[in-house]
């Protein structure tokens, strides 16, 4: 491999150590009486105002992996990679109406996780357990992907081997254990400041150096024209437009069902804070859109992805390599630190969210029914360590490709909790057992359809080689269902459709015949605001 780049590594290390210290000090921020309850450790005391919520949710949703993978996708395939744009535009109007209700009902009833809500709303512990397990399974590979983000940056600095990642994760685990959600909330502020500086510098400096956007897009156009892949190009091919729209919409629906998005939402102090933030959060989408264009800048500047020891090019290295090529060494170091620190915030929030699911919906529900708040906090802290250890193990032992596949599957899986969680916020019409049946059907269909998607490589001679038989992407060809078309569709959309159909039919069949669970929420709960006279802190109500 290349020599280690001293200046970059020094700047990276200083900033990384700096935020780690901040992470440990975060436990004293807003001085809680003690951190020994889930409300304090896992939700930062449910006290975050507008600014902190903006940084926390933004830092949580726009992960290091996004910053690395979206430009990499654009670099490889062009327009289809830009789906991240419509995806992050449509998510906020949806969240605006849906999550405000979830905040209210959780605030009134002391819910910590989406599964807590499902437990109370459907009256079915089984459904709540399914929602909790789905959340944990979908989140784990997402944490692993953050490690891939750090790894890409380290590779670009010439640092190879697994020991630096282990050290970085040990530090992350330690301060998350110590400070809970306060740590990523505080670090998110630093992360975002760095990211904004780097991105603004990149979109001003790099195009000037490369001769303007016209030149950049012309270079990309030339690359795609020469490539034998019919699916790439500066615009969407006719067959991929439906895929583009459904992937964007499906990903948006999945995004706010992930437990870590809900953790950020529940930690804010009022319903108004959530709603106000939904108008302010798209500032990040703008940054993400500009970042995505770095993929084209990498093409125009002739960046070649680093080749791994096994001879495969690692396309995730293109953004770090572009920074390294175009920026002076010290600023490249700042850019690398921005990505590296960008991995820490979501990894911390995700592990906290998964740990809360474990504690509230498995530990306290099945293993220790009379758990005290102190025991719950301890269980969550330990679980957050286990979750991170699992993610680390996945990266060290398994092929990183496996984590990417799992994350792809994770999006489809988490989408199957839509009827129980999001639709449940509006109506109690669905029978709880029909929701369970719908979940099973959606899962089965989703996994089958992803299994059926092969990954193809197009040769210069017009040949098509299948490099991977299964789990080769999320673009499900409708021809697999017998339709005579080349159109593809996001696999998750079909799966959620199957899920909903089963939910409706199941409800019609079961209503009045089979006993349904009892809804313990009140219609007033869904519109409650902080400071309402009747709103009380009742963290133990769900048990």
């Amino acid at each position: 491999m290349d020599d280690i780049k001293g200046v970059q590594l020094a700047v990276f290390t200083v900033l990384f150590v700096g935020v780690s210290v901040l992470g440990f000090l975060a436990s004293r921020w807003r001085r809680p009486k003690d951190l020994h309850s889930l409300d304090e450790w896992g939700l930062g005391g449910r006290s975050f105002g507008g600014w902190v919520t903006w940084f926390l949710i933004g830092g949580d949703l726009y992960t290091a992996y996004t910053f690395i993978a979206v430009p990499a996708l654009i670099f490889g395939a062009g327009a289809v990679g830009f789906f991240a744009m419509p995806y992050t535009i449509v998510v906020y109007p949806i969240v605006f109406v849906v999550l405000a209700r979830l905040w209210s009902v959780s605030h009134r009833n002391g819910f910590v996780t989406p599964a807590d809500f499902v437990r109370a709303r459907s009256g079915s512990p089984t459904l709540a357990l399914l929602v909790a397990i789905t959340g944990i399974v979908a989140t784990m590979p997402y944490i692993a992907l953050q490690l891939i983000g750090i790894e890409a940056v380290l590779k670009a600095m010439g640092v190879t081997g697994h020991s630096p990642i282990i050290v970085a994760f040990a530090i992350l685990a330690a301060y998350t254990y110590n400070s809970g959600l306060r740590a990523p909330a505080l670090i998110a502020v630093v992360k975002d400041a760095l990211i904004y500086v780097v991105v603004i510098a990149a979109v001003i400096v790099i195009p000037i150096k490369l001769g303007g956007f016209g030149e950049i897009f012309a270079a990309a156009d030339k690359k795609f024209a020469a490539s034998p892949n019919p699916g790439d190009g500066l615009l969407l091919g006719g067959a991929s437009q439906l895929q583009y729209a459904t992937l964007a919409f499906g990903s948006a629906l999945a995004l706010f069902l992930y437990p870590h998005s809900l953790t950020g939402v529940l930690a804010s102090k009022s319903r108004d804070t959530i709603k106000r933030n939904m108008a302010a959060l798209p500032a990040y989408s703008f940054v993400l859109g500009l970042l995505a264009l770095l993929g084209y800048m990498a093409i125009a500047s002739g960046v070649k992805p680093l080749v791994d020891a096994d001879g495969k090019p690692d396309v995730n290295t293109i953004v770090p390599l572009l920074f390294d090529q175009q920026f002076p060494p010290w600023f490249a170091g700042v850019a690398f630190a921005a990505i590296g620190i960008g991995a820490l915030v979501p990894a911390a929030v995700m592990s906290i969210a998964a740990a809360n699911l474990w504690t509230r919906n498995i530990y306290s529900e099945y293993l220790n029914k009379d758990a005290t708040p102190k025991q719950e906090a301890r269980s969550s802290k330990l679980a957050s360590l286990v979750v991170k250890l699992g993610a680390l193990g996945a990266i060290l032992v398994l092929d990183p490709q496996f984590s990417i596949d799992l994350q792809l599957i994770g999006g489809v899986l988490i989408l199957q909790t839509l009827p129980a969680v999001a639709i449940g916020l509006y109506t109690r019409w669905f029978h709880s057992k029909a929701l369970i049946a719908g979940w099973c059907a959606g899962m089965a269909f989703g996994l089958w359809s992803l299994y059926e998607v092969p990954k193809k490589v197009f040769g210069v001679d017009g040949s098509i080689t299948v490099v991977k038989e299964h789990f080769g992407g999320s673009a499900f060809p409708l021809s697999k269902l017998g339709f005579e078309t080349t159109t593809t569709l996001y696999a998750g959309m079909l799966a959620i459709l199957v899920n909903l159909i089963v939910c409706v039919i199941g409800t019609l069949l079961l209503r009045g015949r089979v006993a349904d669970g009892i809804d313990t929420t009140d219609p007033d709960d869904f519109t409650a605001e902080a400071g309402d006279p009747e709103v009380t802190q009742l963290p133990e109500l769900v048990h």
Binding site: F217, D272, A280
Partner: protein
Amino acid sequence: MSLHTETPPDERAPRRTDRSRWNWLLLLPLVVTLYPPLYNRREPDLGGIPFFYWYQLAIISVGVLCTYVVYRKTRR
């Protein structure tokens, strides 16, 4: 007057509501972003950036505006 003027709790309408005609405005950003034929072309470009890209970047402001207007109008 009947003795039972109180409505049973489960039939009681919520004292507050988050229903509003303004919420329909939130559909606008969804429609203009999720229908690719609207913007899947190169011309007119903006400083060398094809329409496909700058349109979607510009649409962010439509999302922000709609969300903000609904936020102001439904604030209590």
